[in-house]
Amino acid sequence: MIFTLALLLPWVTGVVLVALDGRRRDVGWLAVAVLAATLALLAVLTAQVLRDGSQEIVTGGWPAGVGIVLHADVLGVVFAVLSVLVLLAAATHEVLAGVRIRAFPGLVLLLAGGLTGIFLTGDVFNFYVFFELAMTASYALTTYGGKRRQLRAALVFTAVNLLGSFIFLLSVAGTYRVTGTLAMHDVAERMPAVDPNAAILVAAGFFIAFSVKLGLFPFHFWLPTVYTGSRPAVAAILSGAVANIGAYGLLRFGPGMFPAQLRLAAAALVVLGAASLVYGAVLAVARGDVGETLAYSAIGQVGYVLVAIGVGGTVGLTAAVLYSAVNALNKTLLFLAVGIRGALVAGAFAVGALSVAGVPPAAGFVGKLELFRAGIVVGSPALVVLLVVGSALSLVYMFQVYQGRFWRTDPSAQGPASSLPLRLLTAAVALIVLAAGLWPEPLLAVSDRAAEALLAGVPTA
């Protein structure tokens, strides 16, 4: 019941709100209220899943195997809660600042509906449908602002990601051809019997599609233009919520459905992740612009997630889930803080900066710690050194930004302070990041359960 409601609520209200004038305050607040309600429903669902194990619904009353399966396990609900939380923060931020186009609240709700669907579906093609729902909403959101920079950003984002979507679709067709099913659970079961050459091709297609979403090196080329061009709230949505599709997809399809192919490519994934990490960090240090530094930082940060997936096992996957969550919160906080001025903002930004660099007590420290543990498990000194270098570089570039923005008397950084509610909201997000760092047990335990759930669903080949 709660499961169905959590999927339907944002979708239905989103369709209604798109038709209304979102620039009106009450429509904006209604969208925020619906997002809050969705978050509450997902929180209840998470509690149920943690207590009683994963839930499954077969749509339309069809027998299992014919109808589309919706499946809520720990991994899915964690990502759903996280993404809706990010959307809630970004939407509240924009409603407080004043929405500029009429479709904004409706689009955010549709995006929430699409993302929840992605994380709670148990069917590969259904995944594609929700995926396009979420992506179409985010293509439209990228144009938010309507200036030249936003239009250019939207064009690049749409063209590149549409291509990624079609590569995903090609792989879906391949999956059906080689396994004769589209239910994720059955695909995972039948995969070991599939011709290895065909399997690796299909897996590579999925990997490319999700890497494009995530902005991993060398599929990152679109990311800096888009993140710098779009408005801060939209950049927060793209990096905090939409990028989760990529991280979740890699986790769900990699260890969840193609474990043998993942093991085969593990070394390549670690190398790619490490390249992404170093490339992102070095370019972020070299950039002067706040938006661009954060964009390259995003490329570097997802490198950590890929390294963790490459390492694999319970330790690696726990680190990957945890780091994805922490990274989404960090990026949301930073992009929101960059857009506003006044007291409290510098403090909130500093918390985000410390979290990216992995300095306690911010949440980033816990994420980095898990990554180091993963590095030690594989017994690779080079990997641990690389992680340290990446963290050191992120400390350098984050404080370059901090210095440039909050210490220098630069005319562009000056101006009237933003309204108090806006600053309080940013401070609240900063508090969440701090709280997750000071009391990391819940997040750690949930990530651990998610990794276990992911590994438990895989038949041992």
Binding site: L151, A159, L169, L170, Y176, L182
Partner: protein, 128 residues
């Protein structure tokens, strides 16, 4: 039959990729559309069985696999919607920038780059 599907998909994808690399935005959209059609052909080609349409079948009839056809229909509708969105976006870009050439769009990027460089120069002067 599979070979024909594979060849059709490959040719469509190749033409799409070629057009995608052109400098004119409308050609880029055309390229993406061709690639989407290549995905449709692949979906239809992934059918598990071939035969007559699965409508009013008698027991023992060989029917074609209905699932890929349902998938292709759904994917076509989604593809139509996204391509319409992309075309609207390109139209907006052409109206605002008064050009459909990618090069001229990139000029804006170069301006941003130059502004950043000027800022860095100012920083250096302040430091020295």
């Amino acid at each position: 039959m599979i070979l024909a599907f594979a060849l059709a998909a490959a040719v469509l994808f190749g033409c799409g990729a070629y057009m995608l690399l052109k400098r004119d935005l409308l050609r880029v959209v055309g390229g993406i559309m061709l690639i989407s059609q290549s995905a449709m052909v692949t979906i239809i080609g992934s059918s598990q069985s071939r035969g007559r349409a699965p409508i009013g079948v008698q027991p023992g009839d060989v029917v074609s696999d209905p699932l890929p056809q349902a998938l292709a229909l759904t994917a076509l509708v989604i593809g139509l919607a996204t391509v319409a969105l992309l075309l609207a976006l390109v139209h907006r870009v052409i109206v605002v920038f008064r050009t459909s050439e990618v090069d001229e769009l990139a000029a804006g990027e170069a301006e941003h780059e130059a502004a950043l460089e000027a800022q860095r120069q100012a920083d250096r002067e302040e430091a020295s």
